[in-house]
Symmetry: C2
Subunit: 415 residues, 2 copies
């Protein structure tokens, strides 16, 4: 295929920064010894069949680790699909025929023990190009804490998303994470919540997954935001990557085209520790002007009756009024976000709102269809994250507010 | 506009089966008196500004109800966006410029107090054309129980999805629902779970939303499946509309392309009362053949190592083995469902599986992108519901199993 092949590592004359090993497991120790001889310090060991396999595999992994320790070699893996880095234009990914990883400068870093979560995010959010991602696999050497330590001081990274099957070094994780969360949000999806889940993990990456309550306590203590499923991991990651600022209070203003959906938002706020804002007199007066005489101006602001009169102006008026209202800390918009129904659509008003400078954290949800996906993506890159349901939007806002509270408490303690 | 206009109802010579009233509220009582005179028995009163508005509106609604009762007129509304019926090709929808409601013969009926939930379902699932939908609005006369009574004996309806803000007649609801749930699944999204949510409801439809625990007890007692958010309402509705049969046991077999995602499925199963199937010897032997020697054949069946060898055959083999395994009651497939990566895709294998006759309830999730939406829709119409995340797939399977359990217990009691 026109590429130069060397029989061994030692035959390569050039300096090697990083070596990808994709041989059968039994060959790995010998290759690592060659690395030591040649002074190679960084290895991605992609092959599977080590600690997650049989006894022979476990023994091989111990041997690999011993050689690496002795010669100061750092290893990512084994049993990994590699890593991607948009800044360095680096793509070490062992799955051939894989989708072109959608790299970008969103400031999102994914650290996981499988490539699944990173792929799932990029396929669902190709417009939010992930900056860095790594699959730690069996994690025989480089672990979550090492990556968090590195990413927390990387100025290009705004949010760190973790998928954790197990942590061997709990204290190290806590010490490093405690510092990192003061700098940027760290979100964790910990799997193996049940004993059966932990057994499944032992045959996936061989990780030792301890009791779930221990992780909960550790996350709470270090300010890590826990996601309980992939949807939450994706939504929370997007939230912190997109929102220009965090809510500084828990008073939520709701602008809705459906009273029924507005109630869903109220229920979700109450469930998640957020309150309804008491709208200021000015906001009440402004919203009154577009309501029929029999309706009460209140929060949620139900703008259904304005939809057929002048939807665009009503959305814009409400967004401005809520933004300027000192009683409102953050905004939930439940709008029409479809490619059809353009006269009643919120898309243009939201775009103008985003372009004029978002004053308060605002999350968006509502009716959507396939045709509007591109316009929704454009809103997200301008600071307005869009969610598939009312509850997911409010959950994400609550996660953002909990981050504000964590930072406030941490800095109060400090002074 | 070339349409004939009559000054009053009485001026219309033809027989009227159903009258839509879209006048300002104060005119409604006089029109109802004309209905009485002309013998019109069915009215959709779409206008807003009745019990959900001010004192005058409440008084008007009381007047309207009194006239209707006296003359045997049934009313849907007020404050409603109407109803749709695919069989009767009937579309009474007061929102002009609305999307063409995607009607069909999926057997799905939506009964709500806002059109939002029905619209949200159809926009997200245009391929699962809703058979019937009604927005009950303020529900001054026709209520959920009336609709459930009617839909439960409609042979075209397979599943009834409810959105409830409040129920005035609890005993009537329970009596009718208890019978209906023996015939077909009834799923309910009850909003107003918090006092603040209940206040929001009073300005939306004027409904009296009682304490949440009362609803929980009522749903449990009558076999209604409760959805806590729109995603669950949509997912559960889809599940019962698509699945050819219910799981008759709680032993789940998991086929996955990612060990990490397989663990998520295990966690979700355990959380929701489902168990992992102990695969039979035959299944173990079949799956062993495609695994590397170091790997253990087990449930979840992690087929990652087969992806690049022959993904299609592996998916097909696993689906067949799990289908024939007497220890497996239902199947979760976590696959590659994208328009790219076609060599590793599960789409063709799943399509063949669906076409050859699904032997056990099977739910699907995994990597997806925009490009594969049409193919996923085709799977759903063939009996394989597809979900946006692993947890949502397992939640829906658990809902289907809980329905099986409810039916079993109910019929045991009976004999």
């Amino acid at each position: 295929m026109g590429m130069r092949i060397y029989p061994t590592v030692k035959d390569i004359q050039e300096k090697i920064d990083l070596l990808l090993i994709a041989t059968p497991p039994p060959v790995a120790p010998a290759i690592l010894l060659e690395c030591a001889e040649k002074g190679i310090k960084a290895v991605v060991l992609s092959t599977a069949g080590f600690a997650e396999g049989d006894e022979q595999g476990k023994e091989l992994e111990r041997k690999v680790v011993a050689i690496a320790r002795e010669h100061g070699i750092r290893i990512i893996g084994p049993n990994t699909q590699g890593l991607v880095d948009s800044e360095g234009r680096l793509l070490i990914c062992s799955v051939t025929n894989s989708p072109p990883p959608m790299l970008g400068d969103s400031g999102i870093a994914y650290v996981s023990q499988t490539a699944f979560f990173y792929w799932d995010f990029t396929l669902k959010n190709p417009h939010l190009g992930v900056s860095k991602a790594v699959d730690l696999g069996n994690m025989c050497d480089v672990d979550h804490a090492d990556m968090i330590d590195y990413l927390s001081v990387d100025p290009k990274i705004r949010v760190i998303a973790l998928h954790i099957e197990g942590l061997d070094k709990g204290r190290k994780f806590q010490e490093i994470t405690r510092k990192a969360t003061l700098k940027k949000p760290v979100i964790a999806l910990k799997t193996g919540r049940s004993p059966a889940g932990r057994r499944a993990i032992s045959s996936h990456t061989g990780s030792l997954a301890g009791r779930d309550e221990i992780y909960n306590g550790s996350f709470r203590g270090t300010g890590v935001i826990r996601a309980i499923d992939m949807d939450e991991l994706i939504d929370f990651t997007k939230t912190f990557a997109c929102l220009p600022s965090l809510p500084t209070g828990n008073r939520v203003g709701i602008i809705t085209i459906s009273g029924g959906a507005g109630t869903l938002a109220v229920d979700a706020c109450k469930e998640l520790g957020l309150n309804l804002a008491e709208l200021s007199e000015t906001t009440i007066e402004m919203t009154k002007q577009v309501l029929p005489p029999w309706a009460t101006a209140r929060n949620p602001f139900d703008m259904f009756t304005s939809l057929k009169i002048d939807a665009h102006s009503t959305y814009s008026m409400a967004l401005e009024a809520f933004s300027d209202d000192p009683n409102v800390d953050s905004i939930v918009v439940i709008g029409i976000l479809t490619s059809i129904l353009s006269e009643m659509s919120a898309l243009n008003a939201l775009q103008e709102y985003a372009e004029s400078g978002i004053k308060k954290p605002t999350v968006v949800c509502g009716f959507r269809d396939e045709g509007a996906l591109k316009q929704l993506a454009a809103l997200e890159t301008k600071g307005l994250p869009v969610y598939s349901s009312v509850r997911n939007a409010v959950k994400s806002l609550a996660a953002a507010y909990s981050r504000h509270q964590f930072l406030k408490e941490s800095f109060q303690k400090k002074w």
